[in-house]
Symmetry: D3
Subunit: 322 residues, 6 copies
């Protein structure tokens, strides 16, 4: 089972499957005659595939299965209304501890290529408050282990294991390009890049299906990031000055750019404005690229997509390149 997981988006009709999957969702429906049936949506790191229905007489097979369960499955891919589904012949729950989550969840893959530039840039920071503030998080192995697994959202841009790390690198590259045009303080800005989304470590759960935690639901991710930063800065000796802490907290709090997008203050410094621009550019262009890649957004054969939720209900156009 250490082999690569079967590629769910590309398995052909008739192919046989025997592997471990994550139950991404349990769809309960009813026939017109009142009899219930269930469809499982199975996932692994490569994507997702629905099963054929478990009819009323087969419901015992899926009894007790909930979102996030892990199952060992044997089955065969069948065609159904122009789509594909997995006809399951055997299904058996797998204890969580025995599964390799990296095989089951969407992932950016190896994280080393993302750590490398970030750590290089960190090494180049001038000694001072920004470098020390960053180290308070990024020198901590526990922080790094969480950070390199956390997704950047539960179902929107970079919703993958490692997605937050990948997003951070993208924001850094874009912020660097903007900073050069207007003479911003790179060390402060880069500290903002590294710290702006740390609240997501507490706002999301990603040890199975991606979900919002109670903390994330009640507090969002922006303020938990500020709270986490204050806790870690409180342990620094000598401490940062009030002024320095406030500039860093301002970067974290204002990075959504607008009050209506959940930032309690708008960017007031050049570095905060650039961080917001770079964060938006990384998120929106990732959403656009994802939307264009996903065939389910397009009516059959169409170049113009359906209205896309993650792009403020815009439609997109594929075949953009000549």
């Amino acid at each position: 089972m250490s082999a690569a997981p079967p590629s769910l988006p590309t398995l052909g009709v008739g192919e046989r499957v025997q592997d471990t999957f994550l139950v991404w969702d349990v769809e309960q429906r009813t026939q017109a005659d009142g009899n219930p049936f269930v469809i499982l949506h199975l996932a692994n790191a490569t994507g997702r595939l629905p099963t054929a229905p478990f009819w009323a007489t087969e419901l015992t097979k899926v009894q007790g299965l909930a979102k996030g369960a892990i199952v060992s499955v044997i089955g065969e891919v069948a065609e159904y209304r122009g789509g594909r589904q997995l006809k399951v012949t055997s299904l058996r729950p797998v204890p969580r501890g025995m599964a390799d989550l990296a095989r089951l969840l969407p992932s950016v893959g190896e994280v080393e290529p993302y750590w490398r530039p970030l750590d290089k840039w960190r090494a180049q920071m001038a000694p001072g408050p920004w470098k020390r503030a960053v180290a308070a998080c990024y020198d901590d192995p526990d922080f790094r282990r969480d950070y390199e697994r956390c997704p950047a959202s539960t179902s929107n841009h970079h919703a993958q294991l490692g997605g937050l790390l990948k997003h951070t690198v993208e924001v850094a590259y874009i912020a660097q390009a903007i900073a050069r045009t207007c003479g911003a303080d790179w060390d402060l800005l880069f500290a903002g890049v590294l710290l702006h989304d740390i609240g997501k470590l507490e706002a999301y759960r990603y040890d199975g299906i991606f979900e919002t935690t109670e903390r994330g639901a009640l507090l969002g991710h922006v303020v938990p990031g500020a709270l986490m930063l204050e806790r870690r800065l409180a342990e620094l000796a000598p401490p940062l000055t009030d002024h320095e802490r406030q500039l860093l907290l301002h970067l974290v709090l204002s990075h959504h750019g607008q009050l209506a997008y959940g930032s309690p203050v708008r960017p007031m410094t050049l570095e905060a404005e650039i961080l917001h621009q770079a964060d938006t550019a990384s998120a929106v262009s990732a959403n656009m690229a994802d939307a264009l890649r996903d065939p389910s957004n397009f009516p059959e054969g169409a170049a113009q997509s359906r209205s896309i939720w993650s792009l403020e209900h815009r439609k997109v156009w594929r075949g953009g390149g000549a």
Copy 2:
């Protein structure tokens, strides 16, 4: 000087004044011939009064005076364009330590009548996390000394020494009335009432003219309140549970009701919703009452006011009562 300060809003033309005042503003203007002149806006706890102009030849008298200075003044009230101004015959700076700020700043007066109901309700809280969380602030004499002086805003509703305390009592009374209609958890709600605005202690400066601090400008007052709460809760032993802390922080963060008004999350619990409703009702009705009381809002003799900034540019109507 321990006598009551002279009543600036009601001093008659011709009356002589000899007292200490706060320089609320220094208005620098220029005559058409290019010669500069200065008007001081003097304040004490009763209100404000402008001086007659200090002409070019008298500017040495006001040299070096800035907003927030304290001055000992002798003068006489004169009429000017249907208004009043103070013709100053003597003006002398007073060192800050030697002045009694309570005589110089707008104030709610005695704070004891506001502490009494709050402390009575605190005593009635059931032992538990909400009572302990409140005690972490309200049992601290330093906290109380700041809280009973802090204004609720720098220039909007309850912009007076003690204004925050008065506002807190109002919110408590209103929240109580709402809670009764829908069965909310009063102890949790009352904790929210007491804690929702504590960030203003760090966001405002009120040891002279009221101003926003750097912390207030860069972080607002909502998040500093959450940060202060976390710091104080961190010292409790045994600690509150994560769940309990999150419910309290949610009350603080969501009390503006809308993202566009600076709350990073909207109210999701019954108590958070009630707190928001009560906070708004106290603030808006205070703004409305203040606007109706202030004659400068009304063109001479008019029942309909000018557009009022603090009421979203509404006009108000005086003579509302029959």
Copy 3:
């Protein structure tokens, strides 16, 4: 049949039911084979329960039944997809005049506890225009009979028989608390509380399922309230002055607070502002409390609800109390 109606939300599977119900809705659906079937949604004062489907061969049993019909039913509660439905063995229309609507419609129950404080406060009003204006409605037994039955909305907050009366009492309590903080004219404000929603008597139909009338659809409920008030005031001798009538009409017209919420003018007096705040606080906190109590808002086992229409699409969090 004078016994309490069976509790539809709590009847257990297997229990037998024999009682009169209101047909809240007639759901017409079709099987995939093209055959139609019908599900009735039965209601009484305790809540609602769907029937099992009436299949094509049984449609004669429900022929001619429309929303709002009253039926005598015998059946048994069955389980269905984790929910409950009523398997109907006998169903017979009941003439409207023979049914006790109070047993069939959601209701606040006894209205006397709501009249008591309102009438006490009315008795305490000083003689004068506000007391007389209120009496023009509230001394009329016909008005009272309608007012104590009318719901406060057809499907939103306080959508129960007597809901308008209950809402009025809540608004009065909250308005009182706000008025105390800012010195409003209580008699005028209380008149506004009693009169602000009288247009709902004409805008809603509540002699069966709750519906909007033609008047309500074409004119809303705010302006019909103003029109009704003018008609009743026209019969007073001596009449109120123009000024007095205008202050009262302003309270009625402005109580939604914003033009975009259907008030043709925004509140311009202190009493109008307080009425708006209290009306909103009663409505929104009732919506929030209702949403938290309704298990159908929550995915199974979840603490976070689905998006709630009546709360501007917010999600709410249950388990708010510690």
Copy 4:
């Protein structure tokens, strides 16, 4: 004095003036040395002209004069900063009863050309509720006398004596053209045209400078129109049906088209929608034409205007015609 009033917009520098004027505004200002001075803005039916300043030593001449006073003036037009002002040599108050307001206020001139088409169309209405409803207002000589004098706004479109009548005719012509394209009920629509703005008779004062009344400030003009209509319909025998009254009231209430523009309901019938479209087209195109005609909107020599308040802050372009 029965001669035509002097044309204030075109009087040349050096011309002598001896006539009666309305005091449109009294501008009180102050020299830099603290001395007050006053400029009067004089008006007659042709337009307005400011006086030269009345300096401190001349203030007795204008003592007691307020907005809306009527004065007999002798003076001479002088140049001032590229503009013109009236140097007053004699000024004497005139009792209100002795002045001919038609000579003093901006006016559409003869009203007969506006009554003619309206009365012709009224005569062509089929007997029935709409014709009778219209007659309840338009057969009343008092109503007609007011209606032919009332402006359509106090300072926006058609702010002239007779402006409401002129606007009504314009709306009728435009509504007719729209109605033809989509088969609306012309008699009902025409009744809406005639009745939609009758509330302005109570919302505005126009027996001197144009002002909003207390009724207009507290209730707007839309609802007073509905109230007036109900009062007049209440006297009809036999009465209109509820349905008929509601359709007419809906036309009055919805004519602003949007809740945010002060209509408590949006147009729900074809006739209401057309009335709204025609009303807007008349008002906005009048505002645009007025803005283009007024040289004070344009920086000297410029084709592009300043931002125009009455056009939602748009700039306009003169020289639009080739």
Copy 5:
């Protein structure tokens, strides 16, 4: 087949049909047992009618049929859930070239009555730039042939063959009425009426079902109109002046009135404002009239419609006339 097409909206149950139809849509659905079925939505110039389902065993009959196909059909109208459907007994594809599209697509009918007033008004234009600009389009037979077929939208107002021409005439009539009230330049305005929507010739496809072209999706219809106008004006000798071209382009670009509605500039000339008002009045009143005529907008027997998308989600009221 040159006979009038059968009236799909009014065919009675039991009537037999034998004719050619356009396949407006192919609805693919699935039974609960997983078996697919298909419903065709057939259209001709009179309206639309769905077929009865083609079940799994009949799918070969509709294999290969796509939106926009043309088919020869024999069948009989059946009742189904209170609606009607066509039970198809024979279905055969028809090559596109052999069908008469005018019989198959919704159409305004004869276009001559629309050309007549437009051409008469064109003849009355004074010689000059506006007349020449119009001629550059309207003297070209190819342009006329396209213009008299193009719909004014694909699924909203005037979505019929010839709809754009009909809409143009309506805008002209309404613009004329508005222009008279405020003295606009009719020749310039009429040129704007004729040219404002010419971009729709490139933005829509109407040689079958109505669809947006790639040009329409990527550029909208406003800018393609401006580009088309510039191309045609480039061929005029002598050319129009820059000023003249800019006034015409401004009319085209600003006719949606607001940036948020897709106009890159707001109307700045009187003619542009009138064009916008007339365009809106024609479109919105057509939408309202269409919505009132369409029984599918109304729950059975109801006077109040469902929320209508094309009217900004308003509900409408039928039985508006007395």
Copy 6:
């Protein structure tokens, strides 16, 4: 006169000036005694400085001077209310042809450093439609001469000679960084970078003070860019395909991102979205950097600025760096 122009922002009080200046504005004001005076705002490439007033008796010296005139001036810097002004002793108009505009207008300086990267990237484009489209503009020496002088706005970001070129380079750098994160087509995107703002060449005048042209006022700059691109593409042989032209036009039209910001269509391709993000990032960060550098935005000594128009009325914070 070929020497560097005197540095207006830094000239000390008492320094003598003899040079040529551009009249940026002519401020006409009046003393309280009614006497007019004039202040000139003089500009050169280094910045601006106001003159001392020209009093009534000196007005002949400035007679006939208008915005945009060029003058030769002798004078001395004087202090005035804490600011500086130029006391002019001699002032003489200079014919436009004889002045070196580069010395008189704000400028980015040498343009070669901006051309270099753009031309290098152009050389690296693969042969094909995007390279050819770009060459249609950028191989034309006239186009280049205009492009390297045009400002990016008249008074907002990059309002300097060469500002458009500088902005273009910034957009290119930022777009490159974004494109790398999501795999966009760089050649197409770079073509969009180079072409998106070409309409500004026609929308602005920059042969003196910066102003909007008639074309810019009536059509904006987005659509003139599309029109210019079509004209230039029309001359290419062989021509681009319709599809290729539409993708390029889409980039130009959608680059403002939102309809409300003047783009008639929103970005629908990945390249269009990135172009919009990079354009915004360059503009907003330039505005922020400019605002922080300009001392006139800050009340004396303050770290928090006044509300800044070009940043959506935000306040900014200087001393952002630690």
